[in-house]
């Protein structure tokens, strides 16, 4: 509030707010009853009036918008408000009550402003703030109830991200399998059972021909022929998967009643299982007799623990990320140095065209810097395609702008004293730069560059999310595949790298300041 504006101050010309009210108290109150704040303006309290008018209009406008969204199907405003009261009673009642109080206070305030110089009104502006917070709460869809109730379901997922290391190792798998042929349909001779080799697993199927499951006109399953599938010579007491492979070698695991078909071998490594021949869409060209295969397959983990693919990929991508940050910083430094000379006021103040160049450079730097690297990635990915190179380009662009500004400020901060002193010893121009300028510039340059490298590695962990390569690229894929353990590994690597980098960069910068 403009409590100070009415205080008469020495030689200042009288302001609008000084002098008597334009209207009498009741009229001001009446005007404010119709249009909040206008009565105050007529009482020469234009700042106060505009504040009231502005906040009333915004609050009412926002409320109308939100009620419209709550009750989209209702036609009239009466119905809409009723619906809003039903669906979100707390919000609606709070808002209406608040606006009512605000309105009443505004009328009383307009009356008071014409008569006395007393200001006050802090409480009511607190109410305005509260109303904005209520609106903000509703607009940003804050739902604490949900936050609490959903917590339980989140825990399994979150725990996988927090401790993903079970997925970091795996074992090589070994497959033991045997196949038998089945003819579809039963025409001519059934295929001969495969020859049994001693020491090798063996399966046979009886009968060795039949019909596949099919769909009738109502899309109901017509079960195929039931065959007896027997095997021996497998690993004992081991789960055995049953696979089917059609004449064009498409393999799939047979499902019955929604479950993958599997059987446990007995202690001699033998099994016997009834299998309904599965449904398989055969191409119209595949008329006549076809030879399918049924396979028993035992998959087991063997050998020592080895790093899993997510672990290997995370390490590879983390290295890629650090390198991206390093390359972008290197390119950025090389290009930012010349730019920083153009953006240093003390170097460019020589003539009007260097000054113009200075302003142009500064403006471009400010614009480029205000666009986040995430957006630059989207642009550069259009240019060179998805991948780390796009990320490097984006980071380089942002680095040039950020370092260009920091460097130029370092140049502007150079003390001319030592330069003068070195000159006075009879040093050449080059010696003067080497002994008077460079020692002053190196510490801030090193410090800023290390800081930027730190930022760039951090940035390159997330620009992968939008296609800029690096670890973010696999992180977003794992999240979309709901592979939270693998995502957790990537998150861990990001956290470890950033923490180490943070420490190292702080240590180095400490030395240079």
């Amino acid at each position: 509030m403009s409590a100070d504006t009415r205080t008469p101050t020495g030689g200042n010309p009288p302001t609008f707010e000084e002098g008597p009210s334009f209207v009498s108290a009741p009229i001001a109150a009446l005007v404010s009853l119709v249009a909040p704040g206008v009565g105050q303006i007529l009482a020469r309290q234009w700042r106060r009036g505009l504040l009231i008018l502005g906040s009333s209009l915004s609050i009412i406008g926002l409320l109308i918008w939100r009620i419209g969204l709550i009750a989209t199907r209702q036609e009239t405003w009466g119905e809409k408000v009723t619906r809003a009261l039903q669906r979100q009673p707390g919000f609606t009642i709070l808002m209406f009550a608040g606006i009512l109080v605000l309105w009443a206070w505004n009328v009383w305030d307009a009356y008071k402003q014409t008569t006395s110089a007393k200001r006050g009104g802090a409480t009511i502006f607190a109410l305005v703030l509260v109303l904005f917070f209520v609106l903000g709460w509703q607009i940003s869809e804050i739902d604490l109830y949900k936050a609490v109730t959903e917590l339980d379901d989140t825990w399994p997922l979150l725990s996988r991200v927090l401790w993903p290391w079970e997925a970091a190792v795996t074992r090589r798998t070994d497959t033991v399998s045997a196949k038998a042929l089945i003819r579809v349909p039963c025409e001519g001779d059934s295929p001969a059972p495969p020859a049994e080799v001693p020491g090798q697993p063996y399966v046979s199927v009886e009968p060795a021909c039949g019909d596949l499951s099919d769909l009738d006109e109502e899309n109901q399953i017509v079960p195929g022929t039931e065959v007896v599938f027997t095997g021996r010579g497998f690993m004992p007491n081991t789960e055995t998967q049953i696979w089917w492979s059609d004449p064009v070698s498409n393999q799939f695991q047979i499902r019955q009643a929604g479950e993958y078909l599997a059987v446990m071998t007995d202690r001699d490594g033998a099994f016997e299982l009834d299998v309904i021949m599965p449904y398989r869409l055969t191409p119209p060209s595949a008329v006549g007799v076809q030879e399918h295969e049924i396979e028993a397959r035992q998959v087991s983990d063997v050998g020592p623990l080895i790093p899993s693919d997510p672990l290997k990929l995370s390490i590879e991508r983390m290295v890629e990320t650090i390198m991206m940050g390093m390359m972008a910083t290197a390119f950025g430094i090389v290009l930012a140095v010349p730019v920083s000379f153009l953006a240093a006021r003390n170097l460019m103040s020589g003539s009007w065209y260097t000054m113009a160049l200075y302003y142009v450079t500064r403006t471009i730097l400010n614009i480029v810097r205000s666009i986040e690297p995430l957006i630059w990635v989207i642009i550069s990915a259009q240019w060179v395609g998805l991948g780390p190179f796009a990320g490097i380009i984006a980071l380089t662009i942002h680095t040039i702008a950020a370092l260009g500004k920091l460097y130029s400020e370092a140049i502007e901060g150079i003390d001319p004293g030592p330069i003068e002193a070195v000159q006075a010893t009879g040093a050449t121009r080059l010696q003067t730069i080497m002994f008077g300028v460079v020692p002053q510039m190196i510490p801030p340059f090193v410090s800023f560059s290390i800081y930027r490298w730190d930022i760039n590695v951090r940035m390159s962990t997330i620009i992968g999310l939008v296609g800029g390569g690096g670890i973010g690229f696999i992180l977003i894929q794992y999240i979309r595949l709901l592979n939270f353990r693998a995502a957790g590994i990537a998150v861990w690597f990001i956290a470890i790298t950033v923490a180490i980098l943070d420490y190292v960069s702080a240590e180095i910068r400490e030395k240079y300041t």
Binding site: T425, G426, F435
Partner: protein, 264 residues
């Protein structure tokens, strides 16, 4: 011998810093320039080694025309003239001995010096200079770790390794407290008397002027308004001093004043 003839300096913005200034400095003098800030003292000192380009007039250094000297000759003239500054003008982040060694740049091979390589003789000379001003033990510290008085001594050491015939001192003690002021000026007096180095020094304090000067010139608005010999200065009262100097003039103060005044 330094001869300054009709020296005039007008800055680009039209400020006349020096107007037709002429004087001569004999070898071995301790000439003190007094004057208000803005009276042109700093400009005058900087014109002598052309850190500031004079607008008009002539400066002769041992018969050589400083004002007309080309770059190479100018550097040869500059290396014979040491300079110390009010703000010390050390490279704060370099160590002390490197700061002193910059005084040798005018004598060293440009390309060697760019690699920060100095000859063993130069290094020995730098250490000797530091020993002379009593801060040899600080040689490897960063310049900004030193106190103000120590930094100014580094400044003197830097001027000293130039093996100068003359030292220009621009308000060398204005940033220091009175006790340190005497210690710095005593170093300059030592160089003046024992090494026959001519000293050209601008100063603020009357008692320091009386104590150290062999001759004084006073500047006001870029013109010489006072020339005094040692005897004339000793006899000068505070009122006369203030007349040249304006109300800014102060003594270093207190107890020191009497004892030093008596010694002089």
């Amino acid at each position: 011998m330094l001869e300054v003839k009709n020296l005039t300096k007008v800055y680009d913005d039209g400020t006349v810093a020096l107007r037709d200034v002429s004087f001569t400095v004999e070898d071995g003098e301790f000439l003190i320039i007094i004057g208000l800030s803005g009276s042109g003292k700093s400009t005058l000192l900087r014109c002598i080694n052309r850190l500031v380009e004079p607008t008009d007039g002539q400066i002769l250094w041992d018969g050589a025309d400083v004002t007309a000297a080309e770059a190479t000759d100018l550097r040869k003239i500059r290396r014979q003239i040491g300079m110390i500054f009010q703000q010390f003008n050390l490279v704060k982040r370099s160590n002390v001995v490197t700061n002193v060694l910059t005084g040798r740049l005018g004598y060293s091979n440009q390309w060697h010096s760019l690699l920060q390589r100095f000859s063993p003789d130069d290094k020995a000379m730098a250490m000797a200079a530091l020993r002379r001003v009593g801060i040899e033990d600080q040689a490897l510290k960063r310049a900004d770790e030193l106190s103000g008085g120590q930094q100014q001594r580094v400044g003197i050491a830097r001027a000293l390794v130039q093996e100068p015939k003359m030292i220009l001192a621009d308000e060398p003690v204005a940033s220091l407290d009175p006790v340190l002021a005497h210690s710095i000026l005593e170093h300059l007096e030592d160089l003046n008397q024992n090494e026959s180095i001519t000293i050209l020094c601008s100063l603020h304090y009357l008692d320091l002027v009386q104590r150290y000067a062999t001759r004084v010139i006073g500047l006001r608005q870029g013109e010489i308004v006072y020339r005094g010999t040692q005897a004339e200065i000793q006899a000068m009262t505070d009122e006369e001093f203030k007349d040249i100097y304006g109300e800014e003039a102060v003594r270093v103060g207190g107890g020191l004043e009497g004892s030093l005044g008596g010694a002089a």
